[in-house]
């Protein structure tokens, strides 16, 4: 097959890019590892920032909140674009088919906006039908356009690359068992994050295996600040099958919710206004001190909210509104009394979002790689060291549109060579060579070993020694990967899917571990027990990783470009 633009990933970012480019005349293939409109977009909590209602501020307050919340690691140029164009996000969602909550007059007004943690004013819209509503709306948008061909249940094996240019991809379609070759003038990565490397300690969908990070690395791109993995503070700690599932975020602590250790001592005040990093880090450090519950968590006590005017409204959201799914999960895990806030919840942070990712410019072009674009969670820089609640959704639509426009403009009059026959044959043979491999190791066991190691050694609370141990285990698994066994069937080959995903997960894991080892301070979501303070003097730097000549991963740093905002001078 061939096309103008190959969009890899069909959550909010990929679909927005595909539709935007398609409407500008591009012939688009939209590839989805799951189904159209799934991935993490499908399972959002249900809020999206739309910027400030007062246009005279030109997004300056929003920009400041993002940069302060992100501990000054952000790419401020991208932040400014996002803050100024955030109002486009609900418009795009609704053009495709979704809908955001309005007041009784049918308008988006102050009345319907929530204030999520780290935001200094209410600017978050609510999706009344949460993720499924957004996801189905995305499918409407794709179904309406005949110049977008969708390939579902299809995973990329590798990009077609020649002389620093990306020329398409070789893919495997799980449901048909076919190997599909796609020649494309431009290729876009919108594959989302990689928090599944922490399973079960994640609330992400199982597809979030970081595919795009590795595809970009292999194509010559840089990844920025990969140590910045957002842990959302309120994840379940038990039972085993429900570990890591999200049941709230700072805002949902309410005005008088209390976060306590096992001895009943409050560990952080004013939780609802804090960022995710601040609340998660408080729990992580308290448990590291030995003050956690027997399940390794802290206690979130929401009871006082039931007698507080604003708290009562929040309780209603949990009883009947958009947070009801959280109530159902708490009920299943901890029982009825916890579900009605009479008993505290045992909570511990769970891997939720990758702030780090592919370095892009304002048109979504991947720095240093010809013909390659990226948007959404797979990119880095917008959120710095911490993403504010409800901004991920905004990013999908704002940068999905920008990348779609960028790619469409570049396609017009583009005359790039096609991928050569020998290159295609080489890649197809490599993929075929994996099917029916008769090695020693079961892939799923390696996958689980990696996930366990990442949580224990490269998880929320980090130390040099453990990070080094984690890297050693990653090396061992990389070695074992050379000797794996895979089913010989083509159709729905589950072991092949695992193997393709693990090939993506390993470089992502190494990138996170190496970046975490390099950053000798605690900043944003990155907590080093051996370097507990933020160190602006030495570490106002972005950490970048890139493939080296030996197919390894090399780390270097670059001072953060403080384009608009500077941190206050420390100490003096």
């Amino acid at each position: 097959m061939s096309c103008d633009l190959l969009c890899i990933g069909a959550g909010g970012a990929g679909v927005t890019a595909a539709i935007t480019a398609g409407d500008k005349g591009a012939d688009v293939i939209l590839l989805s590892k799951d189904h159209i409109g799934y991935g993490n977009t499908r399972i959002i909590g249900g809020i999206m920032s739309q910027g400030d209602l007062d246009p005279s501020r030109q997004g300056e307050d929003f920009l400041r909140d993002m940069v302060v919340g992100g501990d000054y690691l952000n790419n401020q140029k991208l932040c400014r674009l996002l803050s100024r164009e955030a109002h486009n996000a609900p418009i795009l969602v609704e053009r495709f088919g979704g809908m955001v909550k309005r007041d009784s007059h049918g308008r988006i007004s102050a009345e319907v906006l929530l204030q999520a943690g780290g935001h200094t004013s209410p600017r978050s819209l609510i999706f009344p039908s949460t993720g499924p509503g957004v996801g189905q709306g995305l499918r409407y948008g794709v179904a309406r356009r005949k110049n977008i061909r969708a390939l579902e249940k299809t995973i990329v094996f590798d990009l077609l690359r020649e002389g620093g240019k990306v020329l398409g991809a070789v893919c495997y379609q799980l449901t048909s068992g076919e190997i599909i070759v796609i020649k494309a003038k431009k290729t876009l990565l919108a594959t989302g994050g990689g928090a599944w490397i922490y399973y079960p300690h994640t609330d992400d969908s199982r597809v979030a295996t970081g595919d795009g990070f590795t595809l970009a690395l292999d194509a010559g791109a840089e990844l920025v600040d990969m140590e910045q993995v957002q842990y959302i503070p309120f994840g379940l700690t038990h039972p085993a099958g429900m570990v890591g599932i999200i049941v709230g975020e700072p805002m949902t602590a309410g005005p008088v919710g209390i976060l306590k250790n096992i001895h009943g001592k409050e560990i952080l005040s004013g939780v609802a206004a804090k960022t995710r990093a601040q609340v998660s880090n408080a729990i992580i450090l308290e448990v590291a001190k030995g003050n956690g519950t027997k399940h390794g968590g802290c206690l979130l006590d929401l009871k006082a909210n039931k007698n507080h005017p604003q708290g009562k409204i929040l309780y209603q959201y949990f009883a009947e509104g958009i947070f009801k799914p959280f109530t159902n999960l708490v009920k299943a895990a901890y029982g009825e009394a916890a579900a009605v806030w009479e008993e505290p919840w045992d909570v511990y942070p769970t891997a939720h979002f990758f702030m780090g990712g592919i370095v892009i410019n304002e048109r979504g072009e991947v720095n240093g790689v010809e013909n390659l674009y990226a948007c959404g969670e797979v990119t880095g820089g917008v959120h710095g060291g911490n993403r504010l609640g409800s901004v991920a959704m905004t990013e999908l639509f704002v940068f999905g549109k920008r990348a779609g426009e960028g790619a469409a403009a570049a396609i017009a009059g583009h005359n790039s060579p096609e991928a050569g026959k020998s290159l295609i044959a080489f890649q197809v043979e490599r993929l075929k060579g994996m099917i029916g491999k008769k090695g020693k190791h079961r892939v799923i066991e390696l996958k689980r070993e990696l996930q366990k190691t990442m949580w224990e050694k490269v998880g929320p609370a980090r130390k040099e020694e453990e990070l080094k141990e984690g890297l050693e285990v990653i090396s061992v698994i990389e070695e074992k990967m050379k000797d794996i066994k895979i089913l010989g069937t083509y159709k729905y080959n589950t072991e092949l899917l695992d193997a393709l995903e693990l090939r993506f997960m390993l470089p992502v894991a190494r990138s996170v571990a190496l970046s975490a080892l390099a950053r000798k301070e605690s900043r944003g979501a990155h907590v080093r027990l051996d370097y507990p303070e933020r160190d602006d003097h030495n570490w106002l730097k972005n950490i970048l990783v890139k493939r080296d000549d030996a197919d390894g991963i090399a780390v270097h740093t670059r001072p953060v470009e403080l384009t608009y905002l500077q941190p206050p001078a420390a100490g003096n």
Binding site: Y38, P132, G133, A332, I444
Partner: protein, 222 residues
């Protein structure tokens, strides 16, 4: 930890084999779920077992299966001794517990499954009041369990779209931005078959009869 035996329907239509029920001995703890056990079997015993899942938290709808003959979300269903886990019914099977969604969406294509406007809005975001039915219907998890519970649905029968087809039409029927006659489409999709039936259920809790089937039938009889 306790050992129990669960039964799982295995079937590979491509290999031409017959559907068979396999037994697996598994370890369960308090509150173990069906999905947890499927993953345990996959991880420790047989990684050719095909099943779908996404979020583990009843948000994505991908893990719906039949448990002892009833459609359920594997992620929030407690495992019981002698549970029999089978794929959803009436759908094209790919392998084991995985069915193909594509034929349904291909069929739906014939009904313009997207918003068709009379004219573009003057200003965006629009001023628009969302009917509560629309919000409720857009929270459909597209898990296909309703089609499994419907006694009249068969994916090969193009004269009948089944409850999920009607839900997709109802979403647009209640969408104030859409201009097509979705009631006539419901007739084309065969809703008359639902007149004397209350067989289908939504395991995500959408009242199908009340906000989908009945309003369409009533509009048609007017």
């Amino acid at each position: 930890m306790e050992k129990i035996t669960v039964k799982i329907c295995r079937h590979d239509p491509e290999a031409g084999d017959k559907e068979k029920v396999e037994e697996f001995e598994v370890s369960v703890a308090e509150k173990s779920t069906v999905l947890e056990i499927l993953m345990q079997i996959y991880d420790t015993q047989d990684s050719s077992l095909a099943f779908s899942h996404g979020c583990r938290a009843k948000n994505c709808g991908l893990c719906a299966v039949n448990i002892n003959g009833h459609p359920r979300y594997a992620c929030v269903s407690a495992i019981t001794a002698d549970a029999e886990i089978a794929p959803l019914s009436h759908l094209p099977l790919i392998r084991d517990l995985v069915f193909d969604r594509v034929p349904f969406f291909d069929y739906l294509e014939g009904f313009q499954p997207y918003i068709v406007r009379e004219k573009e809005p003057d200003a965006e975001p629009e001023t628009v009041v969302q009917p509560p039915e629309h919000a409720r219907l857009m929270s459909c998890l597209e898990c296909f369990a309703c089609l499994s519970s419907c006694t009249k649905y068969d994916y090969r029968d193009k004269s009948f779209g089944g409850p999920l087809g009607f839900v997709k039409l109802a979403q647009l029927h209640y969408d104030v931005r859409d201009s097509l006659d979705r009631v006539s489409q419901a007739r084309e999709m065969g809703i008359a078959k639902c007149a004397d039936c209350s067989g289908c259920t939504c395991i995500a809790g959408i009242p199908l009869k009340q906000i989908v089937i009945k309003p369409f039938l009533e509009s048609l009889s007017k």
